[in-house]
Symmetry: C3
Subunit: 138 residues, 3 copies
């Protein structure tokens, strides 16, 4: 069994924002030399997500509006966590979107459906944050 | 390390619907010959989910009603994505229910708790869609 | 490839409650002797979650309040599942929080970000329930 590890660093210039990381992860799969296996891609921070969906701008706006409805940023006073910080909503939004994805590797490539794209979703940005890519297989 | 891959195809005759795929996945684990490992089961489409919960009809009705409350299908005009399509709600519902499950394989069998059942959950049906089963182990 | 399996048992004395299981999982990784791989940690019951987030009491209170807003326990009559039981809300809350986490193992340790902690989240307690830890790697 082989394994491969790499950290990806991001600094999203706004509080919230999306970044398509599919090609980056695909290149790491190639670099790993692993032909059959699994890749884990997870946010290493607890106010960000890695998720898979469509790369369509309208849908991304819908996500922003929908997450604000389910877990509003303001008023900050509605959350106990905000006695320490102002980002309780970021923890909740990330919970909806998920921490991680696990993707199959087949014939040395990401084994994704036709519209599946991997995204980093930042909910408390303007600083350096990390994603972990771990690949195991042969 | 051994690996095994199979696609499952579904055509759910309504917009939304559930299908228990536990036995199908269990049979693929047997077919793979893998005794110890992990199986990844993921929707390959971004308007469908694979999830684990109870095979109880009342609960399935509760899921339908609850998801409609959290991410209503109509009016279509509430979603920007629907400028292109009419299935924005399906992307959001699938986000709540999740894309994938990872299940342990022990002694050549799915290592599930007593009530755990694996389901395909369709949110934009009436067409052929796929689930990926990828197994790695020994 | 090596594999390792262990069940963790919990009896949370209230209907809902959280338990930090990071050190327990870390010790199992050491016990497994696996240096590079993946660990799957999943609830074996369908009214409980395993998730990763911050070990901060204010945030945990926010989760409780937020989950009650998204999937209220009462009135029990609002859920069809409660014709058989009274825990439909527990199935829905667990769906939001997730069934499982997959964490990388690097150099014989959990490869977590600085604030990542693994929790068991009980939504229908006062009885013995299990979590599965399955490790594969080398």
């Amino acid at each position: 069994m082989k394994s491969f590890r790499k950290e990806l660093w991001f600094n999203i210039p706004s509080r919230r924002g999306l970044k398509n990381i599919t090609d980056t992860v695909e290149n790491l799969v190639k670099e790993s030399g692993i032909k059959e296996g699994l890749v884990l891609v997870n946010a290493m921070h607890i106010t960000a997500s890695v998720f898979i969906n469509d790369d369509e701008t309208g849908l991304h706006h819908d996500y922003e509006k929908w997450l604000e409805k389910l877990a509003p940023e303001k008023p900050y006073s509605q959350y106990e966590h905000n006695g320490y910080e102002d980002n309780a909503d970021a923890h909740l939004k990330r919970t909806i979107m998920g921490r991680e994805v696990v993707v199959a590797i087949t014939d040395g490539r990401l084994d994704l459906g036709p519209w599946e794209q991997i995204f980093y979703f930042e909910f408390d940005g303007k600083r350096d944050k990390r994603v972990l890519v771990k690949i195991i297989g042969e």
